[in-house]
């Protein structure tokens, strides 16, 4: 039995994030217009404290509140991902809202709550906890997507996100109730135990129906086809920093909970969900890559690209086999998510920089970017290289690890589909890069990049290359975190 102070220590990242959010809100009311600029840095300070707190939990393996809330390396890994994503997004959003909305402090506060939701989700080990945490993430996401009330695209995106999201989470909830009905418990581990005892006799239909419904909800979060329709609209309409956050933070949270639920509660139904996940994976990457070709808006293109990436990551789940590849496939997913975090955030940061100079997000505006700001062009080149999966970049290593797991299980077809998809994706990434490097700019004026954006670009660039060149420690990190 833990005493209160110990519990407080164990949930320190969570309450630090909450306190930071409240602090930002309170200061937003009291600081006044002139000193509003401090708020993002205060939020960053809170994130830093939360990072320290979660790192201090690295070697803990505790179940809190009667198994409701697990603190293990898996959870801590996602805590780190959440903090990193939020921190970089906050840096990238400094100055973004100038003249777009009168409310700036609330953005940072809500973003901190979103980070809190991801950390909760990574630790949730009970259906009640899973549901409520997903909803915290969703509800704040709807708000932040529709945040620019003066921008009609933003509100429209917010409403569409909300409508899709509310329906998806209702379906997911129904699946959870079926699971509860099948086992009489909401605890994931206990559900897993009960199902493993009962899987021999009786109907398997019930858990399978539950699995399908859960996949709707989780698939929505990771934007897997056919639950991806929200993503392009939302990415296009949302404030760009938040679109960046959705593409990495929200997606990582979706995978965290997908792994946690499927691997602790439903491992005995692997034969059933394997087929579903494989289909989902193939559909997701193919659809994402094919539609991305026809996009004229860079945010939409990145949205479809991020859908396709979800497809690659799902291969990792499909290749999970408790006997053969248990930890490797999970660690491949974790590594992929980490590398993808830096790569995609970097790409979005370039988009933010261009958007702030040009005002729109059309791909045609990227013509001659190299002459307007060679650094941006070079960074975009590296990020796109990584997104395609060409060495020496982080996502390349991630793909390699995932393919390794697939090859070990001899799922060659999946690898081949993924490789073909890689080739397709080359086409549209090249389409952008061709404009950046070879076409003449419409406007010769150089694009200035603010200091916070430079910091984000530097960090993401270094990490995109670093996770590949010095891959070993990161792979080891992913491997040690791959304990569920």
């Amino acid at each position: 039995m833990l005493i209160a102070s110990q519990i407080l220590g164990l949930i320190a990242p969570q309450w630090i994030l909450l306190v930071a959010a409240m602090l930002v809100l309170a200061l937003d009311l009291t600081l006044g217009e002139e000193r509003e600029g401090w708020l993002p840095y205060i939020a960053l300070l809170g994130l830093g404290a939360a990072l320290v707190a979660s790192l201090s939990l690295w070697n803990r393996q505790v179940a809190l509140f009667e198994g409701l809330f697990l603190i293990d390396r898996f959870a801590v890994f996602f805590q780190i991902i959440a903090v990193l994503a939020t921190g970089l997004v906050i840096l990238a959003s400094i100055g973004y809202f100038e003249g777009k909305t009168p409310y700036k402090g609330q953005f940072y506060a809500l973003l901190l709550v979103t980070a809190l939701a991801i950390t909760l989700l990574a630790s949730a080990a009970d259906l009640v906890m899973v549901f409520i945490s997903i909803e915290v993430l969703s509800v704040t996401s709807y708000t932040l997507t529709g945040y620019l009330i003066a921008d009609r695209k933003s509100t429209e995106a917010g409403l569409k996100f909300f409508l899709y999201g509310a329906a998806a989470s209702a379906i997911m909830l129904y699946g959870m109730t079926l699971l509860y009905g099948a086992t009489g418990s909401t605890n994931l581990a206990e559900i897993g135990r009960t199902l493993s005892l009962a899987s021999g006799e009786g109907s398997r239909w019930l858990p399978i129906a539950a699995i399908v419904m859960l996949l709707v909800g989780f698939g929505f979060k990771v934007s897997a086809a056919p639950f991806h329709q929200w993503a392009p609209d939302v990415y296009e309409g949302a404030p760009t920093p938040f679109a960046a956050f959705l593409s990495v933070g929200s997606k990582a949270a979706g995978f965290a909970i997908l792994l946690r639920v499927f691997l602790t509660a439903l491992p005995d139904f692997r034969v059933d969900w394997f087929a579903l996940v494989t289909t989902l994976s193939i559909a997701t990457m193919t659809l994402g890559n094919l539609i991305a070709i026809f996009q004229e808006n860079i945010k939409r293109m990145l949205a479809y690209s991020s859908i396709a990436q979800a497809g690659y990551i799902l291969i990792g789940l499909a290749c999970w086999d408790p006997q053969a590849t248990g930890r490797e496939s999970i660690s491949a997913i974790l590594f992929y998510l980490l590398a993808y975090l830096f790569t995609n955030l970097g790409a979005f940061t370039v988009v933010i920089a261009v958007e702030r100079a040009v005002g729109t997000n059309e791909i045609s505006d990227y013509a001659g970017l190299i002459r307007r700001n060679p650094w941006l062009a070079a960074a975009l080149f590296v990020f796109f290289l990584s997104l395609v999966g060409i060495p020496p970049t982080g996502v390349f290593v991630g793909k390699l690890l995932i393919f390794a797991a697939a090859v070990r299980l001899e799922y060659y077809a999946l690898v081949i589909v993924a490789l073909i998809n890689g080739v397709i994706s080359l086409y549209y990434y090249y389409g952008v890069l061709r404009r950046v490097f070879f076409l003449a700019p419409r406007d010769e004026a150089p694009i200035a990049v603010s200091t916070p954006l430079r910091v984000v670009l530097a960090v993401t660039l270094i990490m995109t290359l670093g996770t590949a060149i010095f891959a070993q420690p990161f792979i080891r990190l992913a491997l040690t975190s791959a304990v569920l």
């Binding site: 509140f65 809500l110 906890m129 704040t140 003066a150 099948a182 199902l195 129906a209």
Partner: protein, 172 residues
């Protein structure tokens, strides 16, 4: 057929009849009124299931707050022309097919063995003690659900904050 069966059928008719009206009525305030009927029916089922506290909270929150909020929103976003426009979109037949198929699958699933855990199908176990106070204890003791309870308050707070930011009058 005892009195509970009769009540059950009554509430089910209320729920499903209201539900049908919710999804088909052109006039949205009437649809919201039908939603209230459905919510009442659900509260009735809670009473039959001996969850009186939930029934009261259902009426208090769902009807007293959510349904009223919905009616309010309908009134605020209403054009007079709306009543002439169709309530359903062009894919409604496809949607109907999906819904019927989902129902068929769910019915098959429900006919399966319930539950895998224990195999209770007939009568429910007797209810002992005061379930309302046990619910209170469950919600507020750290060994049970106090933590999700706190998370729920964070959810409400952020929803409130978000709603204010989005719906507040623009002042630049």
């Amino acid at each position: 057929m005892g009195i509970s069966h009769v009540l059950f059928i009554l509430f089910s008719v209320l729920i499903l009849g209201g539900g049908v009206m919710v999804v088909t009525r052109r006039n949205l305030v009437q649809a919201a009124g039908a939603l209230i009927l459905t919510l009442f029916g659900v509260a009735g089922l809670y009473v039959l299931l001996e969850a009186g506290f939930l029934a009261a909270v259902q009426i208090l929150i769902y009807i007293g707050a959510i349904a009223i909020l919905i009616i309010f929103a309908v009134m605020l976003t209403r054009r007079l022309a709306d009543e002439q426009e169709p309530g359903l979109n062009s894919q409604w037949a496809w949607a109907l097919g999906t819904a019927v198929m989902a129902l068929a699958i769910l019915v098959i699933v429900i006919q399966g063995t319930w539950p895998l855990a224990g195999g209770v199908v007939g009568n429910a176990p007797p209810l002992t003690g005061d379930s309302t106070s046990r619910l209170g204890v469950a919600l507020l003791s750290p060994e049970q659900y106090a933590f999700p309870f706190e998370v729920a308050s964070v959810l409400l707070l952020s929803a409130m904050l978000g709603a204010i930011v989005i719906a507040r009058e623009k002042r630049h």
